[in-house]
């Protein structure tokens, strides 16, 4: 996975020099993900998994996660360092987080679990105590949790459920970051923003609100951006970027395509759309 990611980042940096900065950051980030000592263990009760998922619950729940506090601390410190080296904003806040981490004032086990459970109260409190914006702390924690879950997936964690037709991840419950029209048939596959799992979804249904009324669904394309579109829903004002693999090629690491199409996020924002109703504290 690392090689595929780095190769795509290299291709993008060569094709679009303006992406150099962002490609350098992600190159460092993914190297860090790859080198990190695992700090998350997941114990899944296979017997309970199927009935849970049939009711629409993702495979994992917070009580199945066990964090190694020492390894998590080492990873988080390295993560903050990478962000500090490449970030253009929020340097003081990152410094404050680093200081708090070194002083033992960030309870990573509690905070990572809070991120998983979308419990924002502990994050807001920790951010307030350290002087960082809650959004920045949440971003750092989400990145760390994502790295841990991706590692678990690489080591064999997977969901067996078929025909999952929810707009959130069948494995961790994360929201989709981007989608792909895959295969000759153009099956829409969503990719989780957290653990990078992917699953099939209806082509003409909003992932955010479930709206399937064709009259209020549409997509836009940007000039000179073949094989990439932004699906929008006029009912909930949500959007989702979609890469058409029939034009761009199969097997692209979609998390990199997400990064490389930040301008489409800006265009969607300009048009009044957002990535769903997920609220970000402090934003």
């Amino acid at each position: 996975m690392l090689e595929k990611r780095l190769q795509r980042l290299q291709e993008l940096a060569t094709a679009k020099p303006a992406l150099n900065e962002v490609c350098r950051f992600y190159t460092c980030l993914y190297r860090l993900f790859d080198n990190a000592v695992p700090f998350l263990q997941v114990e899944v009760d296979d017997e309970m998994a199927e009935p849970r998922q049939k009711q629409g619950f993702p495979l994992l729940s917070g009580d199945m996660l066990t964090f190694d506090p020492a390894a998590a601390q080492i990873f988080f410190a390295a993560l903050l360092q990478v962000m500090h080296e490449h970030g253009q904003q929020g340097q003081d806040e990152l410094q404050a987080l680093q200081t708090a981490l070194q002083a033992g004032n960030l309870n990573l086990t509690e905070l990572l679990r809070a991120v998983f459970e979308r419990n924002r109260e502990p994050i807001s409190q920790a951010a307030e105590a350290t002087g960082a914006q809650p959004a920045l702390l949440e971003y750092c924690l989400t990145t760390a949790l994502g790295a841990a879950l991706q590692r678990c997936r690489a080591e064999g964690l997977k969901t067996q459920v078929q025909n999952w037709d929810q707009g959130y991840c069948p494995l961790c419950g994360g929201l989709p970051a981007i989608a792909e029209l895959s295969g000759e048939e153009g099956q829409k596959r969503l990719q989780c923003s957290l653990c990078n799992s992917n699953w099939s979804f209806h082509r003409l249904t909003c992932t955010h609100c479930g709206n399937s009324d064709h009259d209020s669904l549409a997509y836009f394309t940007a000039e000179g951006e073949p094989g990439c579109r932004v699906d929008i829903c006029r009912k909930c004002s949500g959007y989702l970027k979609v890469v058409d693999s029939r034009e761009r090629g199969e097997g692209l690491p979609l998390e990199i395509e997400d990064v490389a199409t930040l301008h489409l996020d800006l265009l969607a924002a300009k048009e009044g759309f957002s990535r769903g109703k997920k609220e970000t504290p402090g934003a």
């Binding site: 303006a18 962000m83 490449h86 904003q89 048939e185 394309t221 930040l262 969607a268």
Partner: protein, 185 residues
């Protein structure tokens, strides 16, 4: 286009990696600035050709067709299409489509363009002549049948339900019994 950090977070959520730190934001703003966007819609429909009834997704922009493809969520075809269904876009856009009536006279080698009025008159005259010559009021058992077996109709795959209804109504009023449609072939 300038979005401050706070607004951008609100719009994009925390999943836009790097946006919180401003990484790549300037480049993205520069790239997005001059880009023109075009909206399009997707609508599902059913292929009009054969009886399988494959699902299609039709892409339109400003009411004009821009693309067609198999519907991957349709239980019949799961996104696949036969060569005819795959070229259904040409029902709407096809530069080689014949747009004027053509006539090749008996024994002639060449087709020639004729007017609609002439062509329709020819069809009407020949239908009437054939029907008059072959019309049967009663069969051998003396039962009233009011039919002609000298004219048949096949088609058309490009007609919709209502058009097919009107066509068969007209054909039955003439007494035709051999009426077929592409969808049953």
């Amino acid at each position: 286009m300038q979005l401050n950090r706070r607004n951008f977070l609100k719009f994009s959520g925390t999943t836009v990696a790097g946006s919180v730190l401003g990484i790549g934001l300037k480049a993205a703003e520069a790239e997005a600035g001059p880009l023109a966007i075009q909206y399009a819609r997707e609508t599902t429909t059913i292929c009009p050709y054969c009886a399988v009834g494959c699902g299609l997704i039709v892409h339109t922009r400003g009411g004009e067709l821009i693309n067609t493809e198999g519907d991957p969520d349709h239980p019949i075809n799961r996104g696949t299409l036969c060569s005819k269904g795959a070229s259904i876009y040409q029902l709407r856009h096809n530069e080689q489509r014949i747009t004027e009536p053509m006539y090749r006279a008996k024994g002639a080698r060449e087709w020639k363009t004729v007017s609609w009025d002439w062509a329709l008159d020819q069809i009407a005259d020949r239908v009437k002549a054939t029907r008059d010559a072959t019309f049967t009021e009663k069969n051998a058992k003396g039962q009233v049948v009011n039919r002609t077996e000298a004219i048949a109709s096949v088609g058309s795959a490009a007609l919709d339900n209502e058009e097919c209804y009107l066509l068969q109504k007209m054909l039955r009023s003439w007494g035709l019994t051999s009426i077929e449609h592409q969808a049953r072939i």
